[in-house]
Symmetry: C2
């Protein structure tokens, strides 16, 4: 059987250490063994996120975490700003609309990032907006926002700031407390090297205060209920124990490497991937300066959506390379390469050579070897890359 | 290290086959391998639940499933009947209240079951009630409702019927379609022999119709969104892949045994547990005729809540036996033995002997050997038990 190279932007492949850890026997989630596990996981998350805030855990996908942010900090009819760069930004706004929030939407074209000045203008124009929602890394387009600049604007105007860091946290520099982020949502199946099933949310004291006043209906995702339990090392409802074993081991691996090294590794593999893709004559969706370190979106080299589908299927069935297509309006127009979590240089070589070979098979590429050569060269450019501003390239 | 006998009413211990299955490598949740896994899991759930209805899956604990039922079938201000026998019935009503539902509560004393005649009276008195919520098996008290009788009343009056079967499904006879149940909620960590993290909900055509009309805000738990994706063998948001591997293997084990045999096994281990506990001079919380086949609640043999805590701690630390205390108002007054999922006669012998030994150590028991003798005798009483009405004993 063909071994798969799973390179979608989550779920990510898991290290064997994590798979083994996840297969441990169940424990009582109201007992001392679980209390120790929860404490270890939360400590690790706080370490990786550079925060002293609580990190609340819910059995849910990242979308559940996004809903939790909305229902805890907003009230029906309240005006709030949602900055969206694609499918997941749109989803966050749609959640708020489903709950009757008066959504002001700042949207950009696919591949573009949010301009902090636009945020500032909207906040100046609408002084009744008290909360800003922004995606750190848009998984659907491979774009990373300049979060420090956006945070400076929103916090400078005294707004509560909620960040979707589902596909960035642990991979792209993110210092929650230094940036003053109030609610930061992430998910186990991205950079954390764990299976899907857990969403983790850092919550600032100001966000708790807001939650105490906000009026949207909630129960499962209520911050106060979860905090009450986590303060005594339990969770409100039954936690996904095997996912927590896994993320605990994933965090152990991250600690061994050191978070700055993890960030540098993601910057490197992303740079290698981009170089390889461009060497094949392909074009990137994301604009220069905002290209993601966790997912690269590539404009389709095929003439039709069906031909793109055929290429991705051929790569999967012939070479075991599993890439993602486009979402929503980008379906049939792009494909995406995930390079986050359990990924290193050797994976990039494998991915880009398999992609090149598959393209050649489908008549979309005439020469081979260009991708690997470009990736090899890009791997050596670390000094230059280090000079770029952290978190945005 | 002491091997634990985990006998709380979920999470349950997992068979090695399930643990190994859960440790398989991740796959693309938008690809053909996941489509096959989802199809297999859903088919197995429909088989076990005796239903042709859709079974929708959400990454969430059972409480998330209970919230999903509420937000999809009700509207704010609408009157609905919640029949509650304890903590989880109360929780379901509290969820509805959090969403502004006009909750009519039919509550009974801890250990008692819902009287179908009381349900009939309330429905006669409040013709504006269109929906009934009932717990099949109350995990906090070890009481099983007479679901066929309750369903006959609610469906006889043309009401939509939602059932919390989190701690009963796959263990206690439950034929969803034969009883006309509209929404049935269960969770992976109970009888299904899988880790926590997935809630599974069967949804009738009438429930979908109601959802299309109902007005409570929802996004993550929306039935229509999930159905749209599951109809093409995907899930709306990223699914908990490792839990799905596990439940697929758990379902394979259930199929090998045969669901009627699984039900009979649960009836037998419950009967053995009750006999053993009574032989030790202990009293059961649940009334005769409604004692659960999945969890036995036992009145505390200790004089104080602290002494009960000491007993449970001693059983855990000295004998590796992990039992559950009481919840909410029953804290310090009862303890609970879970016997669901991966459990057989041999586990009962181990559990009741360890409990007896621990009680003797703590001066709560003078003779030993009574529990095992009673369990051994009760194991042979199958013919008698089979004469009792299915699902209620």
């Amino acid at each position: 059987m063909l071994e798969q190279q799973l390179r979608v932007p989550g779920p990510t492949p898991l290290p064997n250490r994590v798979l083994r850890a996840s297969a441990q026997q169940m424990i009582n989630h109201r007992g001392p063994e679980f209390a120790a596990l929860l404490d270890s996981v939360v400590s690790g998350l706080k370490w990786a996120l550079h925060t002293e805030h609580d990190v609340l855990l819910y059995p849910a996908s990242g979308t559940g975490g996004l809903e939790a942010a909305v229902v805890n900090v907003l009230s029906a009819g309240e005006r709030a700003l949602f900055c969206t760069m694609g499918s997941f930004g749109n989803r966050w706004a749609a959640i708020a609309e489903a709950y009757g929030v008066d959504v002001v939407r700042l949207a950009v074209e696919p591949g573009e990032a949010i301009d902090p000045e636009d945020v500032d203008s909207i906040l100046a124009e609408h002084p009744d907006i008290n909360t800003v929602f922004v995606t750190h890394n848009e998984t659907s387009t491979g774009v990373t926002n300049d979060l420090p600049a956006l945070a400076a604007v929103a916090k400078g105007r005294g707004k509560l700031l909620c960040v979707d860091a589902v596909s960035s946290a642990s991979c792209i520099p993110l210092r929650v407390d230094a940036l003053g982020l109030d609610v930061v949502v992430t998910g186990s199946q991205k950079g954390w090297m764990a299976p899907p099933g857990l969403t983790m949310i850092s919550v600032s004291p100001a966000a708790y205060e807001r939650a105490a006043q906000s009026k949207l209906p909630r129960f499962y995702f209520d911050f106060a209920k979860e905090k009450k339990y986590q303060d005594r090392n339990q969770t409100f409802t039954t936690p996904p124990v095997s996912v927590m074993y896994a993320i605990d081991e994933g965090l152990r691996i991250l600690r061994e490497e050191g978070i700055e090294n993890v960030w540098a590794r993601h910057a490197r593999v992303a740079r290698m991937t981009r170089a390889a893709v461009r060497a094949m004559g392909l074009r990137l969706l994301a604009v220069e300066g905002h290209r993601s370190d966790t997912v690269t979106a590539v404009l389709s080299p095929a003439e039709t959506p069906d031909a793109l589908k055929d290429l991705l299927k051929h790569a999967r069935t012939r070479y075991g390379l599993v890439l993602a297509g486009g979402q929503d309006d980008l379906s049939g127009k792009i494909f995406r390469v995930g390079h986050l979590g359990f990924v290193d240089d050797s994976d990039v070589y494998s991915v880009v050579c398999s992609l090149e070979q598959a393209m050649r098979d489908m008549g979309l590429q005439s020469r081979v070897g260009l991708a690997a050569a470009a990736a090899l060269a890009a791997a050596r450019e670390e000094e230059t890359a280090a000079a770029e501003p952290a978190g945005v390239r």
